[in-house]
């Protein structure tokens, strides 16, 4: 019994060994840097509310770094605000503002240098050059942060969440706006982006480059300069996302370039110039998505092959599909097209005549964009109708053999 108590006490002692350091203007420790000097691995630093202008705060111990009442860490437009140089760091509850602005090195609100198991939660980042930057890191969590910047056109600004050469990341429930790209992935693998809202960023809401085996699920990408881009990537899963209101000459709901073996399921593409633009993509399945009120539902360039487009709803788009070639290497099956004018005599819910999703005019405007002027003129309507009956310009095998009579409940 005595032995047990002994063990218990020693255990208690070893736990209480980790101390908590309070930082505040009316406490004995007034500076965060001082607290960082005092701390050892495993300690907790609690920063009370107030404004802290301490330049670059470097965390190089395994500590828990907590803010109470959102203390403000101000980089005064000169410094990188927080640099994390240790594993297992938790940073929670801070308001991090005004990081430096530079075009040669990339100053950030929070930057993680080659670390593992770092957690960045519940912070507010305002007016930083880059928001959160993970470099060469693994198993990190970025959750519930609000990241805002005020980038304008013609101006250099960094990304909201920038991840480079990392692995096993979780990016959950962040709100990002006003940066260059909301979330940027480059050489990032085995990671998940879930429940984020990325609005009004200058370029892309989400941008993938050379990042294989990732998934992004239930995110909202709205009103970004050019939508979302997934490029030079393999095996990406895109589920339940909203791609909305990305208007402009080079704006797309989703821009796919050089990507393969991916799955696009149950997303909504609404009010974009082009819902999806595909170039050099292969073996992608596009299933159960809604394309609504876009200029072009989908633009499939001739360099795409073996893509399967199944069970989608196309509604109220000016053009459902357009392409720039005559070769058809992709299959369309069992989609609902609101422009379908066929019939269903056997009442099995599937149209009895195939649907040509490619209208004459979408082919014409692809070749000469200025022909758009003539859209909705009488002649064009006439030509379009005759083209539907006797395809001459449009490839005749570009068809959906089993168009649905009723839209899918998506």
């Amino acid at each position: 019994m005595k032995k047990l108590i002994c063990i218990l006490f020693s255990l208690l002692f070893s736990i209480s060994n980790a101390k908590t350091i309070q930082v505040g203007s009316n406490l004995s420790v007034k500076k965060i840097k001082k607290a960082l000097q005092l701390a050892v691995d495993g300690d907790t630093i609690v920063v009370n509310s107030g404004v802290y202008k301490e330049g670059n705060i470097i965390i190089n111990k395994k500590i828990i770094f907590l803010g109470k009442g959102f203390p403000i860490l101000d980089g005064q437009r000169k410094f990188e605000v927080v640099s994390i140089n240790a594993d297992n760091v938790v940073i929670k509850g801070f308001k991090i503002i005004n990081s430096g602005y530079a075009s040669l090195d990339d100053p950030c609100g929070i930057k993680v240098y080659d670390r593992t198991f770092v957690k960045i939660e519940n912070n507010i980042l305002d007016n930083n050059f880059f928001g959160i930057y993970l470099q060469n890191s693994r198993n990190c969590l970025i959750k519930n942060n609000k990241i805002t910047a005020y980038g304008k056109q013609e101006q250099l600004i960094g990304n909201g969440i920038h991840c480079w050469k990392s692995d096993n990341l979780q990016i959950i429930a962040n709100k990002i706006s006003g940066h260059r790209d909301g979330i940027y992935f480059e050489f990032v693998t085995q990671s998940i982006i879930w429940r984020n809202i990325s609005n009004k960023n200058i370029r892309y809401g989400l941008h993938f480059m050379f990042s294989n085996d990732d998934a992004y699920i239930t995110n909202v990408f709205k009103n970004n300069g050019a939508g979302v881009a997934v490029m030079f990537t393999k095996n990406v899963k895109m589920y339940n996302n909203y791609f909305e209101e990305n208007w402009g000459d080079a704006a797309y709901g989703l821009l796919l370039k050089e990507i393969a073996d991916s799955y696009i399921f149950n997303n909504k593409f609404a009010r974009n110039t082009s819902g999806i633009y595909m170039e050099g993509t292969s073996r992608i399945k596009v299933e159960k998505n809604v394309f609504e009120s876009n200029g072009w539902g989908m633009k499939i360039q001739a360099s795409c092959m073996e893509n399967e487009i199944v069970n989608n709803n196309y509604r109220k788009n000016t053009f459902d599909i357009s392409t720039n070639g005559s070769l058809v290497l992709n299959t369309f099956n069992s989609n609902y097209w609101d422009k379908y004018e066929g019939y269903d005599l056997d009442k099995n819910g599937v149209g009895d005549v195939p649907y040509h999703p490619l209208s004459l005019f979408s082919v014409l405007t692809e070749k000469t964009p200025s022909a758009m002027l003539l859209y909705r003129s009488f002649m064009i309507t006439l030509l379009d109708k005759s083209e539907k009956v006797l395809p001459s310009i449009t490839p005749d095998n570009f068809i959906d053999k089993t168009p649905l009579m009723k839209s899918l409940p998506l």
Binding site: Q153, E154, Q155, I202
Partner: protein, 148 residues
């Protein structure tokens, strides 16, 4: 009579000026950041340190977000190019003639499409950044020939 002559002269001058302006197609057009998109990779151009531009023999302008995109575009396009411009790495979104530039490749240079070329308008700047960026010096010809 003399004033009439003067009018003729001024008209002639005016027309020759117009003619000059319309021929003046060897000048670069500035890249509008976050608005123009790359004519090769379709990405919006956001970084004024790595952008590039070319003018074809027919006088059309094409803009790129990376020198690598420009060269690949040039090698696949049917219309030959006349002039190449690249962004000066040392400045913000300023285009300089590629032939007269000094290049660095690799090291810590991170360009949007991983071409990782940085261009400088003088060899002094090139040397200065060579050690800073741990990169390898190159000429425009070498840069151009590094893609097929």
């Amino acid at each position: 009579m003399w004033f009439k002559n003067k009018i003729y002269k001024s008209i002639l001058l005016l027309f020759s000026f117009f003619a000059l302006v319309s021929c003046n197609s060897n000048e670069s057009k500035p890249i509008k950041l976050n608005s123009d998109s790359c004519d090769f990779c379709k990405m919006t151009i956001a970084n004024g340190k790595f952008g590039a531009e070319l003018i074809t023999q027919k006088g059309r302008y094409y803009k790129f977000d990376d020198v690598a995109c420009m060269i690949q575009f040039d090698k696949t396009s049917e219309v030959p190019s006349k002039v190449f411009f690249v962004n000066d790495y040392f400045k913000e979104n300023e285009l300089v003639a590629a032939e007269k530039s000094f290049f660095l490749k690799g090291g810590t240079i991170n360009s949007p499409m991983r071409g990782n070329f940085a261009a400088f308008s003088s060899d002094k700047e090139q040397k200065e950044f060579q050690t800073k960026l741990n990169a390898e010096p190159m000429t425009w010809q070498q840069v151009y020939d590094s893609y097929k």
